[in-house]
Every structure is written in C-alpha cells, then in structure tokens.
C-alpha cells in the first residue's frame, strides 16, 4: 500500500516516467483479465490501452481503499464487460451450465496413472490447455486470476464485484470439469473420472 501511495503521488505530480512505471507494474494482470474475457487479441490490446488511459484520467479519484492493482483490475474488468455487452454477449451465458439432475460422483482419475509422465507428454499438455481454452469466459478469467496471478478470492471479488460464494462456485465447477477431462486424458479408454456438477 505504501508503494501504491508513492506511485500514485508520483503520477499525479507529473514525475517523468512515473505513469510508464505504473503501467509496467500492472499491465500483466490487466492483460490476463482482458485476454481472458475478450477472446480476440487485437481487441484485448486496444482495451488494455483504453484501461490505462482511463486509469490515468481517473487516478485522482483513487482513495487507497483497496490495493491499486485491484482498482486497476476493476477498471479493466468493467471495460471488458462493456465490450462484451456491445457485442451482445450475455455474461450469464458464459458460465458453465450445470447438468440437471446429475449427482456429483467423485472418483480419482486413475490412481495408477503417472501424472508426472503425463505432464511431460506435450500432447497431454496441449489437450489440457485446449480444455482450458474451451471454458466459458467468466470461469476461465477467474481461474487465471486465482492460479496465474495468485489473487485471493477476496481480491477477485473486489475486481469483479461478484460475491465470494459465486466465485468459489465458478472455480469449483471449472476445475471439476478440467479434472473430468483430465480423467479422459489419463485413461482414454474409459471415463474414469466422472466428476459431474
């Protein structure tokens, strides 16, 4: 928070290079949010510029009530949402649809499977990454923020405005779906892991 304060004050005072430093510090998180929410990389790049221009214009309104990264993340998230709304994409439809009446049935994928060997297999890694890509935008974004940017659920709630229970539900179901697909990878001949939700 002290670093945030120094950085914000430097930008507002017009210190040369201060805003560039701010962008460099927070561009990774911003990119992850936008690239995950907006599938087109060109659109995501334009929205990243728009995000930081808005941050620059509104930085004097930042009250240090949250970390600067979550404030910037929230700007990026709201810009991505507006972009999706313009494209008539309803975020609710971007969720994983639960299967009606499917009782959760948890079984380990294959206790005998050598997962380290699986990870070493490029084909398996590619298929796992493809499975991540096929997830709907919202859970995919939440997974990236939680696993790649290592944000806590409370921080993700500040960025997205979603309730923590909603975020947990998205994470849980998305990871369960990936695990289900991993079960197919570990044992293609049969659906060993039948995690349904």
């Amino acid at each position: 928070m002290i670093e945030d304060r120094a950085m914000v004050q430097a930008v507002l005072a017009g210190v040369p290079g201060a805003f560039e430093q701010l962008v460099r510090t927070h561009q990774r998180l911003t990119w992850h949010i936008l690239a995950r929410m907006v599938r087109d990389p060109e659109d995501a790049r334009e929205l990243a510029q728009e995000t930081f221009l808005r941050v620059h214009a509104q930085l004097h309104q930042f009250r240090f009530e949250s970390a600067l990264k979550t404030w910037i993340g929230r700007v990026a998230y709201s810009i991505a949402l507006r972009h999706l709304e313009k494209k008539k994409l309803n975020l609710v439809s971007l969720d994983i649809e639960p299967e009606e009446g499917a009782a959760p049935a948890w079984e380990p994928a294959d206790p005998a499977a050598d997962l380290e060997a699986l990870w070493a297999d490029a084909q398996v890694r590619d298929r796992l990454h493809s499975a991540i890509e096929t997830l709907p935008e919202l859970p995919r974004t939440l997974l990236t923020l939680h696993h790649l940017d290592e944000l806590s659920i409370a921080e993700i709630a500040q960025i997205t405005g979603l309730a923590t229970g909603t975020i947990k539900s998205h994470l849980f179901r998305a990871r369960a779906r990936l695990r289900e697909q991993l079960g197919d990878l570990a044992s293609p001949a049969r659906h060993a892991c039948t995690a349904r939700f």
């Binding site: 805003f19 690239a35 997962l115 696993h147 790649l148 405005g161 309730a163 947990k168 990936l178 079960g183």
Partner: protein, 146 residues
C-alpha cells in the same frame, strides 16, 4: 456487488473435500502426494503456464505517450481562472467608456427600449456569460490558448 445469488460451492462433504483439494493443489507445484490431489496439481500447473498472448514490449511507453498527449497540463486554481479574471478589466473599461461617451448611435434602440426589457436583457446576458465561463470545454479552450 453482483446481483448473482451466492451459491454454495460445495453441497456435500465429498464436494467440500474436493474444494479443499483444489485449493491445496495451489500450495505446491510438485506433482506428488495422494492421487486425488495430483490431478488438481496438474491442472494448477497447466493454469500457471497458460498465459494467453502478450502485450507489445513497449506497451507501457506507448500508453504513457498517449496519456501525456491526451492530458491537459495540470493547472492550479489561480492559473485556471486567470483568463477569466483577465476579462474583468476589459468589461470595466467598456462600462467606463459607455458612461463617459454615452451610447453609440447604433445602440439607440437600447435607450428607447422599455426599462423592464432592458433589465431582463441585462440579466439574460449576464446569465449567458456565467454559463459560458462555467462550461468546461470553453474554459479548457481558453486555458489552452493562453
């Protein structure tokens, strides 16, 4: 906050166990331990390495240049109002000239007008001036010109 409901992520002890396993998988990068956790660790590893695309290397410099171009110089209160205050002596001079030299011939309609109309017009002109001064784009253009 969102209007979404706040669903439970785990409705049974078994699901809760899996939730704990999912979260615990983030604590260690190594793919080891009980098989049930290993799958989630593999997923965690995939998600950690799954950075989609990238921004240009000079993105920060590009954005900083654009922000600098689009931003007006930060003016203090005194500087911001300086162009407006500069108009005051001109207005006073005009009033003094009118008082000393009288109305010009082309303004004879004014002296012939009804007193009530003159008062109303005076207030109307003053209101337009105040609104014009208060309008931000007008003020910005003036500030940029100074």
């Amino acid at each position: 906050m969102s209007s979404h409901p706040d669903p439970r992520h785990a409705d049974s002890p078994e699901q809760e166990r899996h939730w704990q396993a999912q979260e615990a998988a983030m604590q260690t990068a190594a793919i080891s331990g009980p098989p049930a956790d290993a799958a989630y660790r593999l997923i965690h590893r995939a998600l950690q390495g799954d950075a989609p695309g990238a921004l240009p290397a000079d993105f920060a410099a590009q954005v900083a240049r654009r922000a600098q171009r689009s931003a007006l110089p930060a003016l203090g209160g005194f500087e911001r109002w300086l162009p407006v205050w500069a108009l005051v002596p001109f207005a006073l001079s005009a009033l003094v000239l009118l008082a000393l030299m009288g109305m010009p011939p082309w303004a004879s309609w004014w002296t012939g007008a009804d007193a009530g109309l003159r008062v109303a017009l005076g207030w109307g002109v003053l209101s337009v001036l105040v609104l014009g001064v208060g309008a931000l784009p007008w003020e910005r253009r003036l500030a940029r010109a100074v």
